[in-house]
Assembly symmetry: C2
Homo-oligomer: 719 residues x 2
């Protein structure tokens, strides 16, 4: 992308007469109008939109795109435009053209992208300027990014366009008049429900701006994440802060996880139940360490209707203290062990830190398992069995690699004896993220809640009591956030096939005005037939036969939503008895023979699933660095890596590492205010300890403090 200051300099030299204005990101025309209304030094102006079309051309010809620079509320009738320019059927240009030729992307297109077009292409580009802009004193454009607006006169705009070397075709057209001719089918507007929504609805109808992802993952990860979630319809923001709406696309992922995990725990003998969401003050406060960990985040109900409750009740932040008083009732003999319960529910932790969708929310969905065993061995076996299931959820369903290990004393669950964890990695930020935890609680809670049985091995009348050994374990909708962060790209979500609600989207393509209705019907029928065949084969396939939308619009629509495979079917494909497949993860295009479609699509989905995991694992492996000198510690973190160090495992040392890694911060990485502080913490002591070099007890020293190292530990900045 071109340098903005260079652009400003150039515009100034062309007669730029207004300042540029910086503002909050404007994702669409309404937002743009709004942020400008709130900014100072803004002249009276005309908002614009810039659209790129491509006419139908012989394949051998060089691509000849059309850039239309229009007033934002002017409807652009592509058919009429084609007639006017004597070009065949202009359609919205593909993402490939935007990125390869204009070095830009949907939502960020402006006239200034002309400066990016390679010399060998510029001669083939046509520019259309809306006459409505020409006389204006201030025409507003985003200069390559949507957090800034530049105001130029119509004349400066013309001057700029004239300044582009090699640009041969520039037309000035009254687009509003052109479009007011009886509208061609392709330009019909969908209904708009209100005046203010009108502009964006036109945008949507014409396939620009609001649909696509406008922020690059590498440019502003946090905004990219929010935009991917909202524009893919995975999630919406909600009017109670820290709470979000989990929309069907995301909930489907959760249901897939539920189905897999529920079958897994059923096989382990765990049964589902449901405990009330409310906890009495008394029960909540029974276990001291535990309650200290949660107390500051507990939400309290104090009123019902207009009456004050005689005693406030808490909403569970987790259910140890909800359940265990009843375990004491239910467990009367060693024959009642093991008791294995799980519940799918939501819990509430009213955090005051900055919330983040899926990762840190005040209410979230999860499962929590709570089991009681006669022996530590029994409990520990289950702790590890569950952790294996968590790893499998990440790796097999979400294609996200994780590292299994045990938490340090400082990081373990409050009130428990040991916490095992699966730790993920977000390459874009270089941060670790706790994926799911499986706790061995020891006898701590059973002592508090008096959950005892008589020792079955004892003889005689006065058999000694044994406090049961307990476990608890939880996995939440955070899983979905991790998946999005790891796989998403600048076009939106990339869904692993196993959890994608739509695995295959089928789109009719290659149809032009010259095709008869019969041919169109044939293509649509072929799409439906493919859908039916794939569904019968167990593939979640769907056709997009919506009229009034171009194939390009549909491509983008489903790319944002991360659908793993797109199948394109048109007259050419039908003639060859093939369909064209396009992978979402790599955009690799392959023709598939219609005859063996089921098998080849199934194979393709398996391949996508596998290669998504392999790719993510490769990145993670590359970014977990072994560090043996403290001087390398922070620079490695700053390089967006996690570190593995020989460590003494002392809590004091962990505090020092956190403190020193915040202080040593070099400052070349802007701190993300939405994320926790930059100090590194221990993520886990990996079960799979590095063998090379081996850690020699009594000899290998802790990287931070120089005392004897006990194990290798993985440290990192984290969520």
């Amino acid at each position: 992308m071109a340098d903005i200051s260079a652009l400003i300099t150039k515009l100034s030299s062309l007669g730029l007469n207004n300042p540029t204005v910086e503002h909050a990101a404007a994702d669409n025309v309404e937002q743009w109008a709004e942020v400008l209304a709130g900014a100072s030094n803004v002249p009276k102006h005309v908002l614009t939109k810039t659209l790129i079309f491509k006419p139908k051309q012989p394949k051998a010809d060089p691509v000849a795109p059309i850039m239309v620079i229009a007033k934002s509320d002017t409807a652009v009738n592509s058919k009429a435009l084609g007639s006017e320019l004597k070009l065949k059927e202009p359609r919205f240009a593909s993402e490939d053209i935007l990125s390869e030729m204009f070095k830009t992307q949907k939502g960020a297109v402006s006239p200034f992208a002309l400066g990016n077009v390679p010399k060998e292409n510029i001669a083939h580009v046509r520019v259309v300027i809306d006459k409505a802009l020409l006389g204006a004193d201030a025409v507003a454009f985003h200069p390559l990014q949507n957090t800034r607006t530049v105001f130029v006169t119509g004349e400066t705009l013309q001057a700029y366009i004239r300044s582009i070397e090699g640009l041969a075709h520039v037309s000035e057209i009254d687009l509003a008049a052109l479009s007011s001719d009886p509208p061609a089918q392709a330009a019909k507007k969908p209904a708009a429900s209100s005046a203010t929504a009108q502009a964006s609805k036109v945008e949507e109808a014409t396939g620009s701006a609001k649909l696509g992802i406008e922020i690059a993952k590498e440019a502003d990860f946090s905004k990219w994440y929010q935009q991917v979630l909202t524009r893919s319809d995975m999630l919406d923001y909600y009017d109670v802060s820290g709470c979000y709406i989990v929309r069907p696309l995301a909930y489907f992922v959760w249901q897939q996880i539920q189905e897999f995990f529920d079958a897994g725990i059923r096989a382990l003998g765990v049964k589902n139940c449901y405990f009330p969401m409310f906890v009495s003050q008394r029960a909540l406060q029974r276990e001291k360490d535990h309650v200290e960990g949660f107390a500051p985040e507990v939400a309290w109900v104090t009123k019902a209707g207009s009456s004050d409750l005689p005693e406030p009740v808490a909403i569970r932040p987790t259910s140890e203290t909800v359940m265990y008083p009843y375990f004491a009732d239910w467990i009367r003999s060693h024959r009642d062990l093991p008791l294995k319960l799980n519940q799918w529910c939501s819990v509430v932790r009213w955090e005051f830190k900055n919330p983040q969708p899926f990762l840190r929310t005040r209410e979230f969905l999860w499962q929590e398992g709570h089991c009681a065993y006669l022996t530590e061995e029994g409990a520990m076996t289950e702790v590890r069995d569950i952790l294996t299931l968590y790893r499998r959820v990440y790796e097999e369903l979400l294609a996200v690699p994780v590292v299994e290990g045990i938490k340090s004393e400082k990081e373990k669950f409050a009130g428990g004896a040991a916490t095992t964890t699966v730790e993920g990695f977000i390459p874009a930020t270089g941060r670790g993220i706790q994926g799911g935890t499986s706790h061995y609680l020891g006898q701590n809670f059973s002592k508090m809640f008096n959950i005892v049985v008589e020792d079955p091995k004892a003889t005689g009348d006065d058999k000694p009591k044994i406090h049961v050994h307990q476990t608890s374990w939880g996995l939440s909708t955070r899983t979905i956030g991790v998946m999005v962060m790891v796989h998403g790209d600048n076009k939106g979500l990339v869904m692993p096939p196993r959890v994608a609600e739509t695995q295959v989207i089928i789109i009719p393509t290659g149809l032009t005005v010259k095709h008869s209705d019969a041919v169109r019907r044939q293509a649509a029928d072929a799409c439906l037939a493919v859908e039916a065949r794939l569904r019968a084969a167990g593939v979640r396939a769907e056709c997009d036969l919506r009229e009034n939308y171009t194939p390009g619009f549909k491509f983008s629509h489903w790319e944002v939503r991360g659908v793993p495979v797109r199948l394109e079917i048109g007259p050419a494909e039908l003639e060859q008895q093939t369909v064209r497949s396009v992978r979402r993860d790599t955009f690799e295009k392959t023709p598939l023979a219609l005859a063996e479609l089921e098998a080849s699509v199934q194979l393709l989905l398996v391949n996508i699933q596998d290669s998504m995991l392999a790719r993510a694992r490769r990145v993670m492996d590359e970014r977990i660095k072994m560090v043996f000198e403290w001087t390398d510690f922070v620079p490695t973190l700053n390089n967006k890596c996690l570190v593995v160090i020989p460590w003494c495992e002392r809590e004091e040392c962990e505090e020092q590492i956190k403190e020193r890694s915040s202080r040593d911060e070099l400052g070349d990485e802007p701190e993300d205010e939405k994320a926790p502080s930059m100090g590194a913490k221990s993520l886990c002591l990996p079960f799979k300890q590095p063998k090379n070099p081996p850690l020699v007890p009594g000899e290998t020293k802790c990287v931070q403090c120089g005392q004897n190292a006990k194990r290798y530990a993985m440290f990192g900045r984290s969520y």
Copy 2:
């Protein structure tokens, strides 16, 4: 059952020297001790238990049961007792013996049941009196019911037993001394965790009292219901009033309902999502009628940790006002319609009326569907499709018949246009119960929340706006309560096979001391083989191979839990290559050939499912009475029936019916304080209107007010 006053008269004639005491129901020894401690006029006394055993006998011999009358805390060693009495292997007698010979049931057995034994049997009965009781001044017994205690001296007890004509065998034995011999395997106590629990744990270990159902459904329905739920381990009480623990047995039913219904709505194109449980005050109060309906029951979170929230947030009582502001955002064109969403969640309605497990609880699990359509027709079709699914959940899964219909204006959902409903019937109380409702909301909410699209049929520039037509529909865990109330009997739950976690329980039987270990192993192996075969055939089968428990104990254990089919396998069955099947619903016993076991068990399960529904439907049909005179109205209700009347459908008339049916109450039916008032309300206007006699518009009059009747309406007392 014998008349209590006759018994008291008889005891008086034998020298009864203490008053009888009435008290709250005592379900077990601890409760008994507690209620007596709280009652007045209670002498210092000894608590007792009465156990019935049956020795092993040749089949041809008349049944010769042993009644043991013991001090409550004396452990009864059945093996030692057998040796003492020279009887083979006494085991706890089956429920059949209790009911057929002693006309009593588990938990209600007392010496006075001897008065019920038919003359032809009494000579074969043996009575054992604990010597510990003989010298006592006051020995406490329940005189055939557990809400009353009678105190007799040891002498009066002896006199009573002597008074039984034809009783031949009475022994006085020091049972404590007998049991202090090295304990035989069958009498081992399970571990007890505390002194107070000790007594009940002994009870459990010896298979008496606490396990079975002690309250007859027809005697005290409300207590029966609570006891069935808790003793079957379906539910437990919780320390926040109005909240209950849904234990695995009940949650399994809910998961079956979820699976069925979720597939049903998916086929209708509904997608699952999750909205936050919190609602802002502003959103909650937007729709006036609606909020008025819920406001008094809304729970408010006002604090988090130790901070007051700047603004309280409500916990959703239902999600109309949670969701619809977002519908307005998401629905931008008629192409976004229909929008069909559902969520599985819990909601909170902080009712101050008496709570009842599953039926009226402060938090409950449900699903709520919320859809938006362009037209009323589209919405109404869905409303009925969903109602059909609700009916199928009741009828096909839970074997509970329901009546489909529409609610009166008074009873419809607050803020909606029309409410359709499935109405169930609880024969034991003669009350109707709302089973699930599917609402047509009309355009009321879409007007409040401005959910509009442009009319797709309109032409021209200024297309008129259409407010969308909405639906909402919910089904809750109330389903489980209705199922229990309709099918449960005096032995506990009766589970319809489709929702039973365990459909078949396999128990080894007929093994005696004379059988070798090899034979025992053979029986156990046969049970396991049957379990494996049935599981492979998709039947949820389970073996109960627990040692130290008698078959009778196990029978009772699984009967309380309502397992539809019991299979008994012993040496006799193995010899004949059969298993003995016992139906839980009818106790019908049939031998099944091992060779075709899968098919015959599957058929049996289908038959049970079908006949449970048929039976319940027959009862319901008999108890829905058509009434054409007001004078018959209340007496019919008092006869535990619902009534169908020609009705004017005026709200004022409904008020009058409610008022008059409370006032007309005859008083011969004690009012259940746990239930709503006795006034009848309209349950629904059934879709299937009676045809005979036909309702003639303008001619047939309303039964209550005499104005013109519009339709037949079903009225009743209800939950």
